[in-house]
């Protein structure tokens, strides 16, 4: 009976929850009391049995994996997403730049070609297509003197199928130039000559180019001696090329 007061606190003692001083007193009592020490032993064994029995359930690997995926560190995810975003933005930027450059170039080139074609058609539709009417290159060339800020050579057309009809001043992109009209068979061919430096041509036109597919004309352009030449007409591509070669040879 003397142990009853101790035994009411036995669980608290075994749980290590008694105050330090009381724990020490309890230690001393249990060591000297066979009844309390036996009781304490069985309770400790019971605690261990509950501890073992209580650790019964383990999460499945699938559930663990699912949870790990759900709780993946967000900084990594946002880091990854950040890089994906940067990469995507980079791709968009590059594609956008290339596309705009391509479209800009194409648009610029096509725009120039279209304007050249327009000039060609407009002049042919005019009642007075040329300001200087002459088949003589030595007449036509001097006519441009003082009217355009550059000089150019006209090819010798003897022994060729081309006939010079005359010339006129023209403007492209607010730049003065020479517009020469030739005949080959029943086809009219326009030759435009501009100063390369004062003419804002697309980069693609620094190289020789052929006419775009959507134009109903054949066309050739090149740069030579600081001048930009355009040869355009509904004549065959071979005729256009032949006249272009004559100009190239004369330059």
């Amino acid at each position: 009976m003397v142990c009853e007061s101790w035994k009411t606190k036995l669980d608290t003692y075994l749980d290590g929850e008694l105050p330090d001083e009381e724990m020490r007193s309890f230690d001393a009592h249990v060591r000297g009391c066979p009844s309390c020490s036996a009781d304490a032993l069985t309770r400790v064994q019971m605690k261990r049995a509950i501890q073992v029995a209580g650790k019964r359930y383990a999460p499945s690997a699938e559930f663990r994996q699912r949870m790990q995926q759900k709780l993946a560190p967000k900084p990594q995810r946002s880091f990854g997403l950040g890089w994906m975003f940067v990469a995507a933005a980079g791709v968009i930027l590059v594609v956008g730049t290339l596309t705009s450059a391509y479209l800009g170039t194409r648009f610029g080139r096509d725009q120039v070609f279209s304007e050249i074609a327009d000039l060609h058609v407009a002049v042919l539709a005019s009642s007075s297509p040329v300001d200087v009417i002459s088949t003589d290159r030595h007449t036509v060339k001097p006519w441009f003197q003082g009217k355009i800020p550059f000089a150019f050579n006209l090819p010798e057309l003897q022994n060729s199928e081309f006939t010079l009809l005359g010339g006129r001043m023209t403007y492209l992109d607010q730049t003065p130039g020479a517009h020469l009209i030739y005949d080959v068979g029943k086809h009219h061919i326009s030759v435009f000559v501009f100063q390369e430096r004062s003419f804002k041509l697309p980069a693609s036109l620094s190289e020789n180019s052929n006419s775009p597919r959507n134009l109903p004309f054949n066309m050739e352009t090149w740069s030579q001696g600081g001048l930009r030449y355009f040869v355009i007409g509904d004549a065959s591509a071979a005729d256009i090329d032949s006249l272009a070669k004559l100009f190239k040879a004369a330059a």
Binding site: E4, K7, T8, L10, D11, T12, D15, E17, D39, T42, R43, Q45, M46, K47, A49, I50, Q51, V52, A53, G54, K55, R56, Y57, A58, P59, F63, R64, M67, Q68, K70, L71
Partner: protein, 162 residues
């Protein structure tokens, strides 16, 4: 994932259903992450997250049902009851039948089961249990005492049946 295995184990003991336990653990971590700002550094993290799990359980269908069927604690009895002198534990230990203990634990009311598990399996201090279960320290002690007594009686009954 801190305390993942132990939280899952505890959730299984509360729900008696692995799927429900998974949902409970998942809900616990989701709430813990969402409300992590409410955790005060320096306080007991384990008690905090177990409390989240237990509260989630109490608001679940199983938890509400369990709470409705749990007899009111004898916590109005201020003094913790002394353990009985009868030693079903010694009988149990002689048989080395862990399954009997598991069955006895399963049959305990959830209020007793959880306090025993937190104390014996999770080895929480009374203060931690008090925080987790949101009950006073004295209630922790009395409930533990009754849980042990109830477990002992359950074991004795099973032993007699067996």
């Amino acid at each position: 994932m801190p305390h993942f295995e132990r939280l899952y184990n505890f959730a299984c003991w509360l729900t008696h259903d692995r799927q429900e336990a998974e949902d409970l653990v998942q809900e616990t971590y989701a709430k813990a992450l969402k409300g992590f700002s409410s955790f005060q550094p320096g306080t007991n993290f384990r008690a905090w997250i177990y409390k989240i799990l237990r509260n989630a359980f109490l608001t679940s269908r199983t938890g509400l049902k369990a709470a409705a069927t749990v007899p009111l604690d004898l916590e109005d009895e201020e003094e913790a009851l002394p353990a009985v002198n009868e030693t079903p534990e010694s009988i149990l230990l002689r048989r080395s039948d862990g399954q009997l203990v598991q069955q006895a634990l399963e049959q305990l009311p959830v209020a007793y089961r959880e306090v025993l598990l937190l104390c014996e399996v999770e080895e929480m201090s009374y203060q931690e249990i008090s925080t987790t279960l949101a009950i006073p320290m004295g209630t922790v002690m009395s409930r533990l005492s009754r849980a042990r007594k109830s477990l002992g009686e359950s074991l004795r009954l099973q032993f007699q049946k067996g």
